[in-house]
């Protein structure tokens, strides 16, 4: 789960990582009020859990309460990368001498890596690509936090010394603690700002928490979904993404779902969604999943692709039949299902009047469905 900037900074505060003075605002009035408290000028930053806000004009500097109100009014409700701006962070303006980059991440190889560059800021990606000698990395043992003294020589490679190096090392150590305590996948501070008054302050917070660990983090789920279908999917317990094609998909595995999408595209149709059930199929789950997929207004046909290893596909079949029986007219639908209890699963579907494909080839099911849809 990607945290919004103000949530990341809340965590930073909890761990003693310095952050700018700031207040969250949900209305133009609150924004104006916050600017007043900050002395009349501030940065007004749209809160969405994705990057590119600066370049998208979603971070603005204001010099009066009135200006804050106007800016806030235009930022609230704006759309960026699939999210709607519901909150703003109003922060003190800072006199920045240096912008550093500090991050912790679980990388593609499954290693925890600390990254540091003295050339932080908006162009960090360019630095990483064109000046790799300015990006320093340190592998972190997942079973043991490195001591603070190991971080100083690592960070010193960036050319900093004395008080700044010491402050930087302290921030890095606290970030490490937070990374482990909070089950984080990403904890990035860019820029980590060195101010003209000597303070070292986190200018931004990009924090991502592991969805699989939310149960033990007692983190209040505050992610706003633009999409009610995706919200419903979360309630059902399936992974669902809305797409814009005309064939709804339900698969019992992510790989199978992606393969199904690829094969439908080859059959000349686009998927209306991605949906995978994982190992938790029940009659109720499949019933709700079918209803969910078919509630997308562009869906003209449904392809269900199941393998029963741990999944009771015979129970899933009953859920599909119940859902389809409640629909009028019944959408063109094909179920491909194989595995444990497959014969029972096929029987339940056939008794429910639902076409069954027992081939091992998904493209056979795709072709059959397209024929049914064309026949309609």
């Amino acid at each position: 789960m990607k945290l919004q900037e103000y949530q990341g900074k809340q965590l930073f505060r909890e761990y003693g990582i310095p952050v700018p003075e700031g207040k969250v605002a949900a209305t133009a009035q609150e924004a104006a009020g916050a600017v007043k408290v900050l002395g009349g000028s501030a940065a007004v930053k749209a809160q969405v859990p994705v990057g590119g806000r600066g370049k998208a004009g979603l971070i603005k500097l204001v010099d009066s309460e009135a200006e804050a109100g106007t800016v806030a009014g235009s930022l609230l409700g704006a759309h960026h990368e699939g999210f709607t701006v519901m909150k703003l962070l109003v922060e003190e303006k800072m006199e920045i001498d240096m912008e550093l980059f500090l991050s912790l991440v679980v990388d593609g190889r499954g290693k925890i890596v600390m990254l540091f560059s003295p050339s932080g800021g908006m162009e960090i990606e360019t630095v990483a690509e064109l000046e790799p000698e300015k990006m320093f990395s340190l592998e972190i043992d997942p079973c043991a936090l490195p001591p603070l003294y190991r971080l100083r020589p690592f960070l010193r490679q960036g050319g900093l010394r004395g008080k700044i190096l010491n402050e930087l090392a302290n921030v890095a150590f606290k970030l490490l603690k937070m990374f482990f305590d909070k089950d984080l996948l990403v904890a990035e501070i860019n820029p980590l700002a060195v101010l003209s008054d000597g303070r070292v302050v986190a200018g931004d917070a990009k924090v991502e928490m592991d969805d699989n660990a939310l149960y033990r983090q007692q983190w209040q789920e505050t992610q706003e979904f633009d999409n009610p279908l995706e919200m419903e999917a979360r309630n059902i317990g399936v992974t669902y993404y809305r797409l814009e094609g005309d064939i709804g998909i339900i698969a019992s595995g992510a790989g199978l779902a992606m393969c199904t999408m690829d094969l439908l595209a080859e059959a000349g149709h686009n998927p209306a969604n991605f949906l995978e059930t994982g190992g938790g199929i029940t009659e109720e789950l499949m019933y709700r999943a079918v209803k969910l997929v078919c509630s997308h207004e562009k869906v003209r046909g449904l392809l269900v692709n199941l393998y029963g290893g741990v999944n009771p596909i015979e129970k899933g079949a009953a859920g599909i039949v119940r859902a389809i029986n409640e629909m009028s007219p019944r959408p063109p639908l094909v179920v491909k299902a194989l595995g444990n209890k497959q014969e029972e699963c096929w029987r339940v579907l056939e008794e429910g009047g639902i076409p069954v494909v027992s081939s091992v080839r998904t493209e056979v099911a795709a072709r059959r469905l397209v024929e049914l849809m064309d026949g309609n």
Partner: protein
């Protein structure tokens, strides 16, 4: 014989008393797997499917010489169950569980590495050597004995590809579900090296998908192999930036982790990439002349 699931295997079922563990233990036994005991803390002294249940893995190792474990333990408790098995000296640990916190997997993986134990998974259907046994939940009726090895990030796609291989007369030596999470216990490359050394495997099918760099790393190793490899990659049409179910399956901006980049890596290693699962047997035929 085969890799991992072979003669001399003595496996423990952790979480055997659970709803899933008890059913799967029965099906593994029916398939002919050498299970020796079950473990569920607090249920020592009971018997499930004719197997003695112990409170801890150490006793199962002591009393039965257990050298492998398949775990049906909830994500909340999986980490310690794996660390216990590693500590007890178990050499092969198959963690079926899905939704395991990444930090737990990182710790499990590190400790297994230090101990020299194989950790397969999590979020995997397990390992099957058709005709010999299975440590996992894959339906036995979907696989047939033969000489093709399979490594897969996706359980369901391993069933699909085993299916088309069966139709073409290519049975499987071993199928290893390496797991669908972004961090898994054992890399694709390492499992490939096991197949390379396995006298019962003639060729390997790699089933990959978008996200991460497992395939790129595997392609690098393929150049050193003598045995032919064929790949299938899912997710060519998946939109970028969305985590497609498998926490590992996400493509980033700039082409990172895409099917194109993985296919390119395989092709430059001389590994043909199938456009759909049903094309795999044809590519194998061309490479093996069978």
């Amino acid at each position: 014989m085969s890799i991992f699931v072979k003669e001399g295997l003595k496996a423990v079922v952790s979480g055997i008393t659970g709803r899933i563990g008890s059913v799967q233990a029965r099906w593994m036994l029916d398939y002919g797997t050498d299970l020796v005991a079950g473990v569920t803390p607090g249920r020592g002294g009971e018997e499930i499917c004719g197997l003695p249940v112990y409170d801890d893995v150490y006793e199962a190792v002591e009393k039965h010489g257990a050298n492998a474990a398949v775990l049906f333990v909830s994500a909340l408790f999986l980490r310690d169950a794996v660390l216990e098995a590693v500590d007890a000296g178990v050499e092969l640990i198959v963690a079926i569980t899905e939704h395991v916190p990444v930090h737990d997997v990182l710790k499990m993986k590190r400790q297994a590495e230090i101990a020299g134990a194989w950790l397969i998974g999590p979020n995997t259907p397990g390992i099957i050597s058709p005709g010999i046994g299975k440590l996992g939940i894959m339906p036995g009726n979907l696989f047939k004995p033969g000489r093709i090895g399979i490594i897969s990030r996706s359980g369901t796609l391993s069933y699909e590809i085993a299916g088309v291989l069966n139709e073409a007369g290519f049975g499987q030596s071993t199928m290893v579900g390496m797991g669908g999470d972004p961090v898994v216990g054992t890399s694709m490359a390492k499992i490939l090296s096991e197949f390379e050394a396995d006298e019962h495997t003639d060729a390997v099918v790699v089933i990959g998908e978008i996200g991460g760099s497992a395939e790129e790393e595997a392609a690098s190793y393929v150049r050193e192999m003598t045995k032919p490899v064929v790949a299938y990659l899912a997710g060519r049409t998946a939109p970028t930036g969305r985590r497609m179910g498998h926490a590992g399956a996400i493509t980033g901006k700039g082409g990172f982790g895409t099917v194109e980049s993985k296919a390119a890596a395989f092709k430059s290693a001389g590994t043909p990439v199938a456009g759909r699962p049903s094309e795999v047997p044809g590519l194998l035929q061309a490479l093996t002349g069978k």
